[in-house]
Symmetry: C2
Subunit: 226 residues, 2 copies
């Protein structure tokens, strides 16, 4: 029986690429998405389609019941998602408190319960310039904590936090995803899409994606379609 | 304005004692309890009463939407809670995968959102003999991870995981709680209480509690009442 892994699947380009990487390794992928009141709920539809299309063993949307759900522009409709502001702030206002800690904690509980070992996430170099919970030192600290705080870890299973895109530029991710056969039109990156799912083209995430495709010399079928 | 803290409040003796300790320090206490499908849901009623009685600033019950909720005797009604088995197993079957990681992750997100710094929990020496996520090395690793993976941590707030009962025996906790004025009848420790809330008197947690009172030379008003 193939080994299992848990994959944090947001429905964006990066986590979709991780899904294909994990499948290429021959792993059974249990995909985990989160409903945390994000305004870009379209990404959950993308996640569902991606999980189905690329053969995830299971896909689950976990509802996160946050004590204070409104502290970020990603979850609070009264805050504007910044436009054309890439790189302005040290930590963007789209930061959601302890988000990756929460996501990975749920992934860890899931992994321990089903006997999986690897926790995949799409954190990457461009993100970690802004988000503290996408930095390698955080991911290493989480892995260490996970192996100290679980029965499986203590008994020697050794959980691993795997962020294969961590050191790649967006252009490199786009090329890798194309090489793996990803249908880009299934992915959403926009923080603030229109109600019919079209990307805004101006938020940090849209700008990063556009830059990635431009530098990779490729067309974005997500944008072409819409 | 007093400093705020987040307190994991299970409704048991240990977390209730932590609540009184945090209040004695003059902290505003935001209590956080979890509904994770535990069979001893009476503890949530105890938590509500304790939070009210001892002046918590707020109390919130967060629903944990676990991917695999049935892996422990605490959440799976088809598994027997072991009786008179204290200390038999290396890690008890009442272990819930990554439970303290999940609880602390939610507490951390809450703390960051409201500007709190300390995360209190009632982990103690007797528990950590069995549960990996009650050991000091786990709690230290969580704290380290928390300060690397959050905006507030990176910007210098320094979150602290505080487990003031960690090195105390159950008898010492009972004495401390009495000194602080805790009404023991408001707390529940039983893993498998009857439907009207009476402790079973035979699960690990009941046995530990009974031993604690006996060694402290005190009566347990929780048991006397029922």
């Amino acid at each position: 029986m193939p080994d299992s892994c848990i994959l944090l699947l947001s429905g964006g380009l990066d986590s979709a690429t991780c899904l294909l990487l994990a499948r290429r390794e021959g792993l059974d992928v249990h995909a985990l998405s989160f409903d945390y009141g994000q305004r870009h709920a379209i990404e959950l539809d993308c996640a569902r389609q991606l999980a189905k299309r690329y053969g995830a063993q299971s896909h689950r949307v976990t509802r996160l019941d946050l004590a204070v759900p409104s502290a970020s522009a990603l979850t609070d409709a009264s805050r504007e998602v910044p436009r054309h502001a890439l790189g302005d702030a040290a930590i963007p206002i789209t930061y959601v408190p302890a988000r990756n800690t929460l996501f990975l904690a749920h992934a860890l509980a899931f992994a321990e319960a089903i006997g999986a070992r690897d926790l995949f996430l799409g954190a990457n170099a461009l993100d970690y310039s802004g988000y503290p919970d996408c930095r390698p030192e955080f991911l290493e600290a989480f892995e260490r904590m996970a192996n100290l705080g679980t029965k499986a870890g203590v008994e020697g299973r050794r959980f691993r936090v795997r962020a294969p895109l961590l050191a790649l530029s967006k252009a490199e991710i786009v090329k890798l995803a194309a090489e793996l056969g990803l249908d880009f039109s299934l992915t959403n990156s926009c923080y603030d899409p229109s109600t019919d799912g079209r990307p805004c083209g101006a938020c940090d995430s849209c700008l990063l994606r556009e830059k990635g495709f431009r530098e990779a010399g490729m067309d974005d079928s997500r944008v072409l379609r819409t």
